[in-house]
């Protein structure tokens, strides 16, 4: 594929609001996980909560979009001068030449969960202040981003569970290659809600300790929330020093099971192979892999086997979910930004919380940060329904 420039990017999660705080946490190998104190949830589990969301007031004119998910998105897109970058791009390309692609899994369903607790005692009706379209609906975050910047090009939500905000890069790259748009605002946002906390708990997939990706005794996920955004533009002739490019995208489906991965990670392997082929790279060219690494026994085993089969056991890799939690539909975007920071700063982030590694997964899993220049990195995102997406990011210089 023709490389695309990540001209600007930002991320907000429990390890930091904005890039600087996020990078500091990565450098310190800090985790943002804490015991679940969200809403009225009575589960013995840990979460990655963004405390700054509680203080967000929706921008004037956007009150109809008010829900935890869009507050988190607004908080994120106001960091790191990202909004100014989008507005400058809109002037440069034209508002109708920029597409918006936002990945989310549950969008603002928490708003509907709250409304269901306030049903009318007589007829069961939802409260009159409940606005389904712009708060709960899967499209709500994408329409929020489009309205916030008054962009006039194509807009869509991508919602393929935990691969959602990796796959936004694929959709945006196709739309740019087809000439429909010149640039794209891509990203992902998912926020804490009862649906995912009780849902993953029903499957026995939430851990009662901070999640431990790739550990011998790993016992499930810690659910987090995050928003991450990037501005994708064609890579011009001259690029700024340290510029980060999207150079490869690979997508596949498992055709195996709705909530369990293929045991050998066959779909995962196909996605990684396609991404390498799109980038014109060999597996030996990849200097760091940001694993999907959810810390469920089955995900890490399947992914570990697929990575070992394709890369051998020498490529440094880690899952950053021990720090951020599994941010579900935002994970692909958040980990894309972490990869961009890794490339920019030459920092290979360690997996935190893991402790003793699973001896059955022979990978060069990083338990301590490593500092070395990177050229190409790969990020994996997989999800329910057997959806897989791998992205490759590269330094331009």
């Amino acid at each position: 594929m023709k490389p695309l420039l990540l001209s600007h990017f930002t991320a907000t999660s429990c390890i930091g609001t904005g890039l600087s705080a996020t990078f500091n946490s990565l450098r310190k190998q800090a985790s943002g996980l804490k015991q679940c104190d969200f809403d009225t949830v009575d589960l013995d589990t840990w979460i990655g909560r963004v405390d700054d969301v509680d203080g967000v007031a929706m921008k004037a004119g956007m009150e109809g979009w008010d829900c935890r998910n869009n507050r988190l998105l607004q908080l994120a897109l106001e960091q790191d001068g990202f909004g100014d970058a989008v507005r400058a791009a809109a002037l440069r390309y034209g508002r109708d030449r920029i597409g918006v692609f936002i990945g989310t899994s549950t969008s603002g369903i928490h708003q509907t969960e709250l409304a269901y607790r306030r049903r009318d005692g007589e007829d069961g009706a939802l409260p009159s202040d409940f606005i389904y379209a712009t708060t709960h609906n899967t499209f709500s975050a994408a329409s929020f981003a489009q309205r916030y910047f008054d962009l006039q090009g194509p807009v869509t939500a991508v919602s393929s569970a935990c691969s959602s905000s990796a796959k936004v890069f694929a959709s945006a790259a196709r739309m740019i290659a087809a000439g429909v748009i010149d640039a794209a605002l891509v990203g992902g946002v998912d926020s804490l809600c009862l649906t995912t906390l009780y849902g993953f708990n029903s499957l026995g997939l939430t851990s009662s300790e901070p999640c431990r990706p790739y550990a011998a005794g790993r016992s499930g996920i810690s659910i987090g929330e995050a928003a991450a955004l990037a501005l994708l533009e064609p890579a011009g002739e001259t690029l700024p020093e340290g510029a980060v490019l999207l150079t490869g995208v690979g997508e596949s489906s498992d055709a195996y099971h709705m909530s369990s991965p293929h045991p050998d990670g066959l779909g995962a392997r196909i996605a990684m192979e396609k991404a390498l082929a799109a980038a014109g790279l060999a597996s030996a060219d990849i200097g760091y892999i940001n694993l999907h690494g959810t810390a469920t026994p089955s995900n890490d085993a399947a992914e570990g086997r697929a990575v070992a089969a394709l890369f051998g056991s020498g490529t440094p890799c880690s899952s950053t979910k021990g720090a951020t939690g599994h941010t579900l539909g935002a994970a692909g975007g958040l980990e894309a930004v972490i990869c961009a920071l890794a490339l920019r700063h030459g920092l290979l982030p360690a997996g935190v919380n893991t402790g003793a590694l699973d001896p059955d997964l022979p990978l060069a899993y990083l338990l301590e940060n490593r500092e070395q220049p990177l050229r190409h990195v790969l990020s994996n995102s997989f999800g329910f329904g057997g959806t897989n997406c791998s992205l490759i990011f590269s330094r331009a210089d």
């Binding site: 939802l126 991508v158 919602s159 393929s160 694929a170 709705m258």
Partner: protein, 267 residues
């Protein structure tokens, strides 16, 4: 914008009073009168027994139109685009009702069926399809978003793409906020090259024009009531088999202008 184009090689249709493309095209072309009736929910024969039991109405109509549009094709090898205006409303209601009660122990099946890509996941299992599956939502413009994504993929990757847009009925109390009255699903097999099965060539571009409305008041009401039925003006043109220029609903600030050129005279 660049005009995207593709050949339509197969069509699937299920909706109120529209039971498959062969029957539906007679209604849409005016050869037979439209008679409203509850949408049929065929059992998904392509799924293994366990998955068949777990599949909800949205999955059932989505898979049915996919099988109809992809008839005669190697389904395992097809890339797919799924689009829905909000996922399974019945499942969402059941989840939210349970989470508002004193017993929050939701069922695992209920939870995995809540993902927006449930239909894509079941399709992948049923068809053995390991190719790219894009899963989109653009509220009332979801059909337009799916069509644009599928056309871009046909153009860039040069492969056939199966587009499936589907919605299901929302129960009360959600229906008061999201009044979708019944199931509707449409499948289009889009190909980069003309083949023996090709029905028509379509071209599409973003447009500021208002959407084309259906001449039949009952079909126009259907187009307005269910987001996936915003495809009806395109299906109408395909059913009549005449060259046509129409506009499909998409976003508040943008619609899709579509040209239809039939590949063979109408039967």
């Amino acid at each position: 914008m660049t005009n995207l184009h593709a050949y339509i090689d197969g069509i699937g249709l299920l909706g109120p009073g529209l039971t498959g493309w062969e029957a539906g095209r007679l209604v849409l072309s005016g050869a037979q009168p439209y008679a409203a009736a509850k949408t049929a929910l065929p059992a998904p024969a392509m799924l293994p027994a366990a998955e068949r039991r777990r599949s909800g109405p949205l999955v059932r109509v989505a898979l049915a139109v996919g099988v109809e549009a992809g008839a005669g094709q190697d389904l395992a090898g097809l890339a797919t685009v799924f689009s829905s205006s909000g996922g399974d409303g019945v499942n969402c209601h059941e989840l939210c009702e349970m989470l508002a009660s004193n017993d929050r122990q939701v069922s695992p099946t209920r939870f995995h069926n809540s993902v927006h890509n449930a239909a894509a996941g079941y399709w992948s299992i049923g068809a053995g399809a390991m190719e790219t599956a894009s899963v989109l939502c653009a509220y009332d413009g979801s059909f337009g978003a799916g069509l644009l994504e599928a056309l871009a993929q046909v153009a860039v990757d040069g492969v056939p793409v199966l587009l499936i847009a589907a919605d299901n009925a929302y129960p009360e109390p959600l229906r008061a906020a999201r009044p979708i009255p019944d199931e509707f699903a449409v499948g289009l097999l889009l190909s980069p090259r003309r083949g023996p099965q090709s029905i028509a060539r379509i071209g599409a571009a973003l447009s500021g024009l208002p959407p084309t409305v259906m001449a039949d008041p009952a079909l126009e009401a259907l187009r307005g009531a269910i987001p996936a039925a915003r495809s009806l003006p395109l299906l109408d043109a395909l059913a009549r088999g005449n060259p046509a220029a129409l506009v499909l609903d998409y976003l508040e600030h943008s619609r899709l202008a579509v040209d239809v050129a039939p590949c063979a005279p109408a039967a």
